[in-house]
């Protein structure tokens, strides 16, 4: 018989980045409460940026999140360059695309293996997997280490990259560095095949809810991650400068993270949104994996965000290898190396400006917006984080999911709720920090 009364209260949801609670309360078969509470201590980054030099924005906002520090870096640089009227060179753009590929790959691998796999394999965390699935854990750590090693070469380190700044790179990879990076990534291919093999056999929960998916769109053939317009599956397309018309941010008291909505009561961003919007632009290797695991656009099962991440892993690995192969042929122009803090010598003219960065980071589209005064100091800052854009959508998913699974026991309901939230790969550090489930 279906459960009539249920109180679930998951405090400090585990295996997500940051602090959040899930609160679900069912009375006489009806949902009374169904909330995703963001309880992360607010950190006030937008407030702290005021008065700082626009050239410091990248360094500071990278610290919003250790998991997607490279993503914040790229969005921040794009916004700052937009405000100052700087146009990056094609070499710089290519290196940034490489960095973004590595960011996706690294973050998705962490999520797929260490945070999601334990649920699918029926254990509480990756720790018991060290004994039961030692080879799987070792493969995950090996792949992650390779991403990290490539980032070390490219930007000094993955957590809070050092050499990627406004205007370009303070250190450009030498010829042998290009070779090394290429070797590391090519060497990852067998492990990637094994990863696809493993996850194609695991079963994700069945559940569907139609929603609006939002992400970058573009007119060229490349899967858009670093730049483009903002598009949605409800046929909206706007310039990144109109991001506020997309996000329509609002505040709810039970969350230190702001929320967003567009054409419907909520929308979703992330790997599945990108997959649904830009499937045709994925590299053929990635599309083949999608076909193999039966993932087709428009997919409306949020649990399959993890599967879309897997497809993106393949895409980003091959895309990154492609960029490095081009650099191997065409060589790096070292005259483009820049000195940090150039502006202390006023080498980059500062102007009063307003700039927006819109970049696809692992968890979805990320916006940074800065206004600068005539001295190049930040007078206004706004960051709209993917997880903030997803929290509303997660709550609506939960509201549809819970009645469908009330015939199960409380433990199963709690686990499925946690898995749903985890599928979005929420990053509460970013959104301030995210998750717990409370069934009250």
């Amino acid at each position: 018989m279906a459960i009539q009364n249920l109180n679930i209260n998951v405090e400090y949801l585990t295996r997500v980045e940051g602090h959040g609670n899930i609160v679900i309360n069912v009375k006489e078969g009806k949902i009374e409460t169904c909330k995703l509470e963001i309880v992360e201590a607010p950190r006030f980054f937008e407030g702290m940026l005021r008065g700082r030099s626009i050239f410091e924005a990248q360094h500071i906002t990278s610290r919003i999140c250790g998991i997607c520090a490279c993503g914040h870096t790229l969005a921040s640089i794009q916004a700052a360059e937009d405000a100052l009227g700087i146009i990056p060179t094609s070499q710089t753009i290519k290196l940034r695309k490489l960095l973004l590929d590595l960011e996706m790959l690294d973050s998705h691998l962490l999520h797929i293996y260490l945070l999601v796999a334990p649920d699918l394999l029926g254990v509480k965390s990756f720790v018991p997997l060290i004994n039961s699935h030692n080879e799987v854990v070792r493969r995950a750590l090996r792949m992650k280490k390779k991403c990290n090693d490539v980032c070390d070469i490219l930007v000094g380190r993955h957590v809070h990259p050092i050499s990627a700044i406004v205007g370009g790179f303070t250190k450009l990879p030498e010829e042998k560095d290009i070779e090394n990076m290429l070797g590391l990534l090519q060497g990852m291919r067998p492990d990637m095949e094994a990863t696809v093999e493993l996850f194609s056999k695991l079963k994700f929960p069945d559940f569907e809810r139609d929603t609006e998916y939002v992400g970058l769109v573009s007119d060229d053939d490349e899967y858009p991650l670093l730049s483009g317009d903002i598009g949605s599956t409800d046929n909206i397309r706007l310039s990144k400068h109109d991001y506020r018309k997309i996000t329509n941010e609002f505040i709810v008291p039970h969350s230190t993270a702001k929320r967003t909505k567009l054409s419907r009561e909520s929308y979703a961003v992330g790997a599945l949104a990108r997959f649904n919007l830009n499937y045709d632009k994925l590299l053929s290797e990635a599309r083949r994996v999608a076909e193999m695991i039966g993932l087709k656009p428009k997919c409306i099962n949020p649990f399959l965000n993890t599967a879309a991440q897997l497809v993106e892993c393949v895409h980003c690995l091959e895309h990154a290898i492609g960029i490095l192969e081009e650099f191997k042929k065409s060589k790096i122009n070292y005259d483009e190396e820049i000195v940090v803090g150039l502006n202390e010598n006023r080498k980059i003219p500062v102007i009063e400006g307003n700039g927006v960065g819109a970049v696809e980071v692992p968890r979805g589209i990320l916006f940074h917006n800065y206004q600068t005064d005539e001295k190049g100091c930040i007078s206004y800052a706004n960051c709209v984080i993917p997880t903030n854009q997803n929290t509303g959508n997660i709550e609506y998913d939960l509201k549809k999911l819970i009645p469908e699974i009330l015939d199960r026991n409380e433990e199963e309901i709690t686990l499925l709720s946690e898995m749903l939230v985890r599928a979005y790969d929420p990053c509460i550090s970013c959104s301030t920090h995210l998750l717990n489930i409370k069934f009250m």
């Binding site: 295996r15 702290m48 919003i64 520090a69 509480k124 965390s125 750590l141």
Partner: protein, 246 residues
């Protein structure tokens, strides 16, 4: 010997220092094998309600709830390690202390700011006793491993109290001042192998200030390159604002 029970806790931070552990690759398995990991919310669902031999604290203390939590953890922990800049010196969270708290709350959350209480940002040792300091934003893994070894042997670890410049010179970097750029290397504690300068950036002071910096010499350098002291102070306040709290 029984393996020490170790637990990770995160306060206000980006969790990047925890991630540094995962970035060790398969080597992390050797490190974990020396301990019994009993609680680590970011990667584990397991919880532990007894005593810890070692508690690793990431993040700054930014509200009363955090003060209560860290006090409880301290009571249950034999050894407490402050891990990463946010924990050891307040880090970037300290920039909040440059503003009136109500003002910054209203700026970020508007009319609803009352839902979001906050207090002055503090480093962990400004609230409870800390036994080991792992500095850096993010932490430098070779140093963290050295500290864990010290913990296992029951001996203290001394954070270098000489300038980043010492390591930077050994790495044969061109001095940032010679490139016409200010750098906090001369007043910042070493131990990171001059990580940022090796990669063409400046030192931002993330490892904290030297206990006894050569102030006169630093002033000479500023005078030589015609750099206003305010510029340096402003840069220090990015990571080291909490030094003002006594």
């Amino acid at each position: 010997m029984k393996k020490p029970k170790i637990a990770f806790f995160d306060f206000a931070c980006c969790e990047g220092c925890q991630l540094q552990v995962a970035n060790m690759g398969e080597g992390v398995l050797d490190v974990l094998a020396a301990f019994d990991v009993v609680e680590w919310r970011e990667v584990m669902s397991e919880k532990w309600d007894k005593k810890y031999d070692v508690a690793i604290i990431e993040g700054s203390i930014t509200d009363n709830h955090a003060v209560e939590r860290i006090t409880k953890i301290r009571k249950k922990a034999n050894i407490l390690i402050a891990y990463g800049s946010c924990a050891t010196i307040g880090g970037v969270n300290g920039m909040k202390n440059n503003f009136e708290l109500d003002d910054i709350r209203k700026y970020v959350y508007g009319e609803s700011y009352k839902f979001f209480p906050t207090e002055l940002t503090k480093a962990v040792h400004q609230v409870v006793k800390v036994d080991y300091f792992v500095n850096g934003c993010p932490v430098y893994i070779p140093e963290f491993v050295a500290i864990l070894k010290a913990v296992l042997q029951g001996i203290p670890y001394y954070v270098p109290d000489y300038a980043v410049c010492v390591e930077c010179k050994l790495n044969e970097n061109i001095c940032m001042y010679d490139k016409g750029v200010t750098c906090l290397g001369p007043v910042t504690r070493a131990g990171c192998n001059s990580w940022c300068i090796n990669n063409g950036n400046i030192c931002y002071g993330c490892r904290g200030m030297l206990s006894n910096p050569n102030e006169k010499s630093a002033r000479d350098v500023l005078a030589k390159y015609n750099i206003p002291i305010e510029l340096i102070i402003n840069k220090m306040n990015m990571y080291n604002k909490c030094r003002e709290i006594i």
